[in-house]
Point group: C2
Chain length 592, copies 2
């Protein structure tokens, strides 16, 4: 059975040594000192390790069942949900006016990491409910907010997002679900939505569905889509539950992983709903929350990597096979633990360096979201908008890869259900697909975010890297191991951007054919930046006489591994990009 230990020390290192959050000018950050975040991470860690983690295998094995229209979640999920609700974790970063705790998004991200590592399928119920609430918090009327938000943040109700239909996922302009105005301000919603996570469940009293649909006279395509709130039970004026709405769960998807989370087919049969925000602006309402939603999926990538790595490491320290080529390490045993072998270390270091780098990137992203939301900082908003597809696409690809590496550490045991590694692989796989496939992320990056405002955000990124390098060039310890490789990666990224500008201008296919590689090239570069910043912080801690020298030295060594062994991928991505569209587009569709 797999285990999970909350990586509190690594989290605290990022929050305080690297990002020095309590010194930040972001409103609300001043109270986030070491003791405060230690206390909150400890509480969240207890729930993660003691309540959620033990249910992870249960959820995978039992899965969800649809019984007479009701989805039964796995044994223990309801009790865990209630415990999290009572702890106030559902609305940790939500507005206190609506029953939230008012914390920064960064804190919700750091605690969410723990829940997600412990039980991704369970945490999806929490996270998606939170996402729906956030959309309502921005676009809903005051009445809608007062009606729906407090019960969601109290954990009495949950929320869902309904976008996909059988014939349209990425291309939502093809949507068929109809919303007919009833003259009383309400609409009748009719259509089928699929892949609705938690669309029906037995955790809560009521489910608040946010549904994209088209009104009869709506413009064609994506511009005719509006957003509606459609509760499972209609709500009386006093907040009590009224009659059952005309919607139902028509089936559960059988899938590769996240079995503990109910993936529902939702049928709306003239269900009563109300417009959220402006008519025909449904996509905009959805996209408002996109950065937050995609950051939470980016997080899933490294959180599955983290728990998989922990278990691979445990195995590598325990399993005795073969002898260290440089000399026996375990003379009293029949063999040495496999962690002595260089190729096992290569595998573990790939896992460790990617996971810790991913965490740094996501925490940085959460701070930019706080800066954008709490300070209306347009530069932060532009930077996070540029980086979100990179974070989502790169970190979920790498998170999945990490779980596969961790599984490999265990050899044959990794393939068995008993050790649990294979579940991490199956669960992590979905993160590359939902909230916009990683291919779509790369198109969003290259087609939309990169050229936005004349490339202002990417220029700001390069400037940031350049400044960091310049400011630290005198630091010899940092220079060879970190700044030089970062400079090389950044140069590759600039060359790729230049290629897109020049050759994409002649033929857009030259840019689009390289979008996926660009996303990865960017991902490596920005994780390289994170490692350079972590190394700098660790060196400063050592210089200032920090007692835990091994911890900081380990950070530096892990970072050096990333720079030496992971960052060279940028050269290959650049070469792929510069080969252009011709090899990609050479075949007629019929000749594949």
């Amino acid at each position: 059975m797999p285990t999970y230990t909350p990586p509190t020390k690594d989290q605290q290192f990022l929050l305080h040594d690297v990002f020095k959050i309590s010194e930040s000018d972001i409103p609300g950050y001043d109270e986030l000192d070491r003791d405060f975040t230690a206390a909150i991470l400890e509480e969240a860690g207890k729930i993660a390790a003691n309540v959620l983690q033990p249910l992870n295998t249960v959820g995978d094995t039992e899965g969800c069942r649809l019984e007479n229209g009701v989805v039964r979640t796995p044994t223990g999920f309801k009790a865990a949900w209630d415990e999290m609700a009572q702890g106030g974790w559902m609305g940790l970063d939500a507005n206190p006016d609506h029953g939230g705790q008012g914390m920064p998004h960064l804190i919700n991200t750091a605690t969410g990491e723990l829940f997600s590592s412990a039980n991704m399928a369970f945490q999806m119920y929490v996270g998606l409910s939170h996402g729906a609430a956030s959309a309502l918090a921005v676009h809903g009327s005051d009445e809608q907010k007062q009606t729906y938000l407090p019960p969601i943040y109290e954990g009495r109700w949950s929320g869902t997002m309904n976008l996909t239909e059988p014939h349209c996922g990425t291309d939502l302009g093809l949507m068929r679900t109809k919303a007919e105005p009833q003259g009383d301000g309400s609409y009748k919603i009719t259509g089928q939505k699929i892949w609705i996570s938690g669309g029906e469940n037995d955790l809560v009293e009521n489910i608040v569905h946010l549904v994209l649909a088209k009104t009869p006279d709506a413009p064609d395509g994506i511009k005719g889509v509006s957003l509606f709130v459609v509760p499972k039970f209609l709500v009386n004026e006093d907040g009590s539950l009224g009659e059952r709405n005309s919607l139902s769960c028509g089936g559960l998807e059988e899938k590769m992983g996240i079995h503990g989370n109910a993936t529902c087919v939702m049928n709306y049969d003239g269900a009563t709903g109300w417009l959220v925000g402006d008519l025909h602006k449904g996509m905009r309402a959805m996209f408002t929350m996109m950065n937050e939603a995609r950051l939470s999926v980016a997080l899933q990538g490294y959180t599955q990597g983290e728990v998989a790595y922990q278990n691979a490491l445990g195995f590598a320290k325990d399993r005795l096979q073969g002898r260290d080529v440089t000399g026996v390490k375990n003379p009293d045993g029949p063999a040495d633990p496999i962690i002595v072998h260089p190729d096992v270390r290569r595998n573990l270091m790939d896992q460790k360096s990617m996971t810790e780098g991913g965490r740094a990137l996501v925490y940085w992203g959460a701070q930019m979201i706080d800066r954008a939301h709490r300070m209306q900082d347009a530069d932060a908003d532009a930077m996070i908008s540029l980086l979100i597809p990179v974070m989502k696409g790169f970190l979920t690809d790498k998170g999945f890869e990490t779980t596969v590496l961790a599984q490999q550490t265990l050899g044959g045991s990794g393939f068995t259900k008993e050790w649990g590694l294979e579940q991490f692989v199956r669960d992590a796989r979905i993160a590359m697909i939902y909230e916009g496939t990683n291919g779509i992320q790369s198109l969003d990056l290259v087609g939309r975010k990169l050229p936005a405002n004349g490339g202002k955000a990417i220029m700001a990124f390069f400037e940031m890297v350049k400044t960091f390098i310049k400011e630290n060039e005198g630091n010899e310890a940092l220079k060879t191991g970190f700044l030089d490789p970062l400079k090389a990666a950044s140069k590759d990224l600039q060359a790729a951007g230049m290629y897109f500008m020049q050759e994409g201008m002649k033929n857009p296919l030259n840019a689009l054919s390289g979008s996926y590689d660009f996303m990865h090239l960017f991902g490596h570069t920005v994780v390289g930046l994170m490692w350079a910043e972590m190394a700098k912080a660790a060196m400063e801690a050592l210089e200032s006489g920090a007692s835990d020298t091994e911890f900081y030295e380990t950070k530096i060594a892990t970072g050096r591994y990333y720079m030496a062994r992971q960052l060279p991928m940028t050269a290959t991505h650049l070469a792929r990009i510069q080969s252009g569209a011709e090899p990609v587009m050479a075949l007629d569709a019929a000749n594949f």
Copy 2:
């Protein structure tokens, strides 16, 4: 539900256009003309597509059950087994003296591809039985061969290999299973073996277990291991079945994939067995068949890639989402098929170019095995021994990667059970682990095969590449797209070998830390060589006026994609290798 179409044309292209097998000097190849191989591939293809493929989902869903000591295979497996047995497929390349068909191993490989793509879990019963028979055919006494081989090749009996024990897999020197001589030439075998594929099953009347065990006075470690044949039912002199032997299946492993194949815990409780080959030479007996066994796993990599690619391609042609940026392709439909989008093509071309390259490599390997076995050609034996870890490690990593890419082509549908792609991912995953994990393959390559005979085999490989490039340098069409990238990759491979020689001499960890990257660097280079040879053959066919110009042009374009987009990975692998052991080994085990 997934589909499978035997890729007969691609197979024939390799056998005749590229490898020109009927002109080969390998005994038995002269009769392998186009018509002959077409006929045999067609027959095998029918079984694959009509009998085995429909059972693939069944096998995954039902799995195997252990009932009162008997393993029940999934519905339909027994009938399929009998049909294959009646067709003579069980001993296709086995010695006619023992009931085989006497075909070259190449033909068994080409037909095995079809069975493996159609149903990997099923084909494992056939393949592992074949492997056990091959070991007996080489090391067994005449009496053992006459007793056990004909019923196995007739499909009345099956065979297994018993190596792993709970506490030892890679390090078989730790083995505890005991073999006590009984004075009558027989031994009593006692111990537990795990992960025994098909260790118990309801397909056959008897199961012939090959078991590694230690005699009481055996030397310590791997040198004390002997090989025994231990039948489920003892065999009477007339070949009829006698009493039940003291061995049993103690349980089935629950695992990530290949559910249709029973992974058994086997308990030997003083079971009667007989020595195979020489005392204490059990490992040598096992290793004799290693090249063949590992090639068949290499094959599993690209065969799962092939069937996954076929289904991804079907989806990409059907699914309508978005519009071609260069102009609408499907004006009568609501959207264009997603194959118009560059990033979908990038994904498909990665799948296609790797799968076809992998097939070429495996077919080349099978010919080297035939050359080594049928002509006692020591050079061919040295070359295949060098390349086997590359084929097994690289092609199974890439095969798995291909199934993941194919799954991604389907977006959300790829994650559902309904479309079947996720099964290919789960099934392909095991090939990276069994028959020696891919990490072990890389150690075998760098620690054993590379330095063998003063590096004679790797030198011969470089010479082969050099000669090919030199002979074809006048071919302008080949030069830019194929020879130049091949030369660059080969140079990277040489630089890596040089690094190992120089720095590995100073510190063996410098070589061992780069072993995995070297395996991949080698893999890309040799698949690059395969593509250059395929492109040359396709160009020759076009020049000689072949009618199917689109087929050959597609080959060339697919090859150009590989050279432009996959081969640049060699630079990254070289950089990782040249960073040496320091970043890999920096941490104390306690500091991970």
